[in-house]
């Protein structure tokens, strides 16, 4: 199946090509003598959305940090766009549970922060227009561009954080429970938004979550992990058409996949 690529994505890659490969990544925290992660292998195709779910302490956040180049693995390697990840990289976008906006910068100024750090204030200033277009695209219209974070709701703040992640046009998005601190209604809405954004850009995404319905709703594949030491228990394909709607979450097909994830979690969690 060939799908026409969005024009402004990283050159040379087609949907389905391997974008990211995790090769036998394992992590031991020597100081505490804790084995956080047993060797983990998987790959993420271009344009694919992978969600990871598992009990606390299954090493999923550790895995994400290693993939982001924020933490060295004890064993193994992460390959992105054909080269190993050995530190923070421009083609990786990252998002956390907290919006981590700087309260002394307006929405627009927060969005251009990555450019300012990498290319200096002058280049960043020139990109303000593009930052504002991004904000517009997540329904933060003109009135909100000059607003400071303390005037934004939790959902709005996370939308600014999404724009900040997208502004450098990364080839992979690493999301660490991005909507975990939001109330459920906002969270549902943000999940739909995230799906729309990822579909528009054919984004390659890897998201850690604690919510089974969220994992199923967003993922092309749900990776279920088990704890101590963390390893992949099962990878479940989600064959639901996109765009998925919240209405679909009440249907039988959705429920079946949720039950499968639940069952796998119960086995891993108890065992």
């Amino acid at each position: 199946m060939t799908v026409q690529r969005h024009p402004d994505t990283v050159g040379g890659f087609r949907r389905g090509d391997e974008m990211l490969r995790v090769e036998g990544i394992a992590k031991t925290f020597e100081a505490r003598g804790v084995r956080a992660l047993d060797p983990v292998d998987f790959s993420v195709a271009n344009g694919e959305f992978i969600t990871v779910i598992g009990p606390s302490g299954c090493g999923k956040s550790t895995l994400l940090k290693i993939m982001a180049g924020l933490m060295p693995p004890t064993e193994g390697a992460v390959m992105l766009n054909g080269s190993p990840v050995t530190g923070p990289r421009e083609d990786i976008g990252i998002m956390f549970q907290q919006a981590t906006l700087l309260p002394w910068r307006t929405a627009t100024e927060n969005v251009i922060l990555p450019i300012e750090i990498r290319n200096g204030s002058k280049v960043a200033k020139e990109q303000e227009g593009r930052a504002n277009e991004l904000l517009d695209s997540v329904e933060l219209k003109e009135d909100f561009h000059g607003v400071y974070p303390h005037e934004l709701s939790g959902g709005m703040a996370q939308r600014v954080a999404i724009c900040r992640m997208l502004v450098t046009e990364p080839s992979v998005l690493l999301l660490d429970e991005p909507f975990g601190a939001l109330d459920e209604l906002t969270r549902d809405y943000m999940n739909e938004e995230l799906q729309r954004i990822c579909m528009e850009r054919d984004a390659t995404s890897f998201m850690v979550t604690h919510s089974i319905p969220e994992a199923v709703f967003l993922g092309d594949k749900v990776m279920v992990m088990s704890a101590r030491p963390g390893r992949i228990a099962e990878v479940i394909d989600v064959d639901l058409p996109r765009p998925r709607t919240l209405d679909m979450t009440t249907r039988e097909e959705f429920g079946q996949i949720v039950r499968r994830v639940r069952k796998q979690l119960d086995v891993g969690g108890m065992g």
């Binding site: 924020l70 923070p88 990289r89 990252i94 956390f96 700087l102 309260p103 002394w104 990555p114 750090i117």
Partner: protein, 287 residues
């Protein structure tokens, strides 16, 4: 006004059952409660002097004190010796404060930003901060003489610990996820410091500066008590020796105004610079 009153009647809750009804104190505006308490305090003070349980020489009443405050004010305005003393003490306080702010900030950043600073230097500073720093005053007189310099150094010495400790604490309070975000963006240490940690530490730094504003007056006055000074502290000491406690009270009033003025200036600067963080009005800061 009347609308809210109407609504209150409309609701007509069964009062007192819950034990957290809005009391009349909640509805009293702040300025009124301050005024009432102030007037009450002065009346109690006056009442105690009327009882004459203490000799009026040792415990002057509000009338004598206010009279002395008024006389001093006239003296200050006409440029007499009280005015000269005020100028000298103000100089000691301001130079002491500026030096404390600059040095405190500098060392605070070093302590907060380096591992050695956090692990080894900070505990010593906290310990030093707990020591009775005024006890060092004779040392500074020995080192810097009886002139204005020893007073400035004393003000600096007392005032700069809170700035160091609060600056370092502010830097350490930076949200870990945001630090991680900066790392993921490939930010240099300098960028992380100037674009994230220092702005984040500003509310802490200002808390330290406000403490320093008050402490620098303490330092200057203690320095003057040890002698050789020509400032307000020296006048307090002389007036107390002459058992003119009404004058002592008046001078302490002006010293408090000096500290309050510096405190107010720092608070004003804070509101301008730290616009995203709103401290409570009249926020009390710890030493």
């Amino acid at each position: 006004m009347s609308q809210t009153a109407d609504r209150k009647q409309e609701v007509a809750r069964p009062a007192s059952k819950y034990g957290f009804e809005e009391s009349w104190l909640d509805r009293t505006p702040r300025w009124l409660s301050l005024l009432v308490l102030g007037v009450a305090g002065i009346l109690i003070w006056y009442g105690i002097t009327l009882l004459e349980v203490v000799s009026p020489i040792l415990f002057p009443g509000p009338i004598e004190t206010f009279e002395e405050i008024y006389l001093s004010a006239r003296g200050i305005l006409s440029g007499d010796h009280v005015f000269e003393a005020l100028v000298i003490t103000t100089q000691e306080v301001i130079w002491g404060f500026i030096a404390a702010a600059a040095l405190g900030f500098f060392f605070g950043v070093i302590v907060g930003e380096t591992k050695i600073g956090q692990k080894a230097v900070m505990p010593y500073l906290v310990g030093f901060n707990a020591s009775p720093k005024v006890a060092f005053a004779p040392v500074f007189v020995a080192w810097f003489g009886f002139g204005i310099n020893s007073k400035i150094v004393m003000a600096l010495f007392i005032a700069f610990f809170p700035v160091i400790v609060d600056t370092a604490a502010g830097l350490a309070s930076t949200d870990r996820d945001t630090v991680m975000l900066f790392r993921s963006l490939g930010a240099s240490r300098w960028q992380t410091l100037t674009k994230l940690k220092l702005p984040n530490a500003l509310p802490y730094i200002f808390a330290g500066l406000k403490t320093a504003a008050v402490f620098s007056v303490v330092g200057a006055v203690v320095g003057e008590y040890l002698g050789g000074g020509k400032g307000l502290g020296e006048l307090v000491r002389l007036s107390a020796q002459q058992l003119r406690l009404d004058r002592v009270f008046a001078l302490i009033f002006y010293l408090s105004l000096l500290g309050l003025a510096l405190f107010a200036f720092v608070s004003w600067l804070e509101r301008r610079l730290v616009f995203w963080h709103k401290p409570e009005p009249l926020e009390i800061t710890s030493a």
